[in-house]
């Protein structure tokens, strides 16, 4: 079973590269049972949206 720490690394990398099939499957299984990581994934997605609407942005 994937650890939460490793899951956060996969979620972060998932924003920067295409995860392999195996990585996606293990992450999905982990997310099904871990609410802390599901919340963190939403937070990471929010960070991306937030910076793209940063007031400095053109």
């Amino acid at each position: 079973m994937m650890s939460c720490r490793h899951a956060t690394e996969m979620m972060s990398q998932g924003q920067d590269r295409r995860l392999s099939f195996g990585e996606r499957v293990s992450l999905r299984v982990h997310l099904m049972i871990c609410v802390g990581c599901r919340n963190t994934l939403n937070h990471f997605r929010f960070l991306r949206d937030a910076i793209s609407s940063h007031p400095w942005k053109l």
Partner: protein, 191 residues
């Protein structure tokens, strides 16, 4: 379309100067170095402005000049002891979030409707404080990725680091920002 005239170039540069300065300060961690990088950028922008017809493509181009100046400056300057200390502090803070089996020591809560915060001026002050609190390297990698929209391969090349190191920096930046926003903005609201 006609090329931008001198007046349009001036007003366009005047308009983005504060944003250039904010970005440069965050990336370079020194008001004086940021001021220099922005001055150089504005001079280069004045010289090259004649090829542009639209203000928005011109401004994007100006940001890319600034990015190159910042990368040059980062390469020239070496990491200070303060940088190294602040990076170890973030490493330790990230490790503290997890128990000895690498599961959450304290489970992160949901943030409700975080997008509503984007409209609030105070949210951006907290966000900028959180970005400034990050150590320089993760903050740089994160802003190049999210603000300038560069791919990790480009960021690694610009900052002369390995791809793995780049992913580590981005992960720490995201975890660090998540914690900071949770603590200073969303904490208590979402519960």
């Amino acid at each position: 379309m006609n090329p931008l005239n001198a007046e349009e170039v001036q007003s366009s540069l005047g308009q983005i100067r504060p944003r250039l300065l904010g970005f440069a300060r965050l990336q370079l961690r020194s008001a004086a170095a940021a001021e220099d990088a922005v001055q150089d950028t504005l001079l280069a922008a004045l010289e090259g402005a004649s090829g542009f017809t639209g203000a928005s493509s011109f401004q994007t181009w100006v940001f890319s000049i600034l990015k190159n100046k910042i990368v040059d400056e980062i390469r020239r300057s070496s990491r200070t002891k303060a940088d190294v200390d602040s990076e170890s502090a973030l490493d330790a803070a990230v490790s503290d979030l997890f128990d000895d089996r690498d599961h959450w020591a304290e489970i992160p809560s949901a943030w409700g409707d975080p997008h509503a915060s984007l409209e609030q001026k105070r949210f951006w002050e907290v966000m900028d404080a959180c970005l400034t609190n990050l150590p320089a390297s993760p903050a740089r990698a994160f802003m190049m990725r999210e603000f300038l929209g560069l791919e990790t391969t480009e960021i690694c090349k610009e900052l002369s680091i390995s791809t793995t190191n780049c992913w580590v920096l981005l992960h720490r930046a995201r975890i660090g920002l998540r914690e900071c926003l949770d603590l200073r903005w969303f904490g208590g609201r979402a519960k």
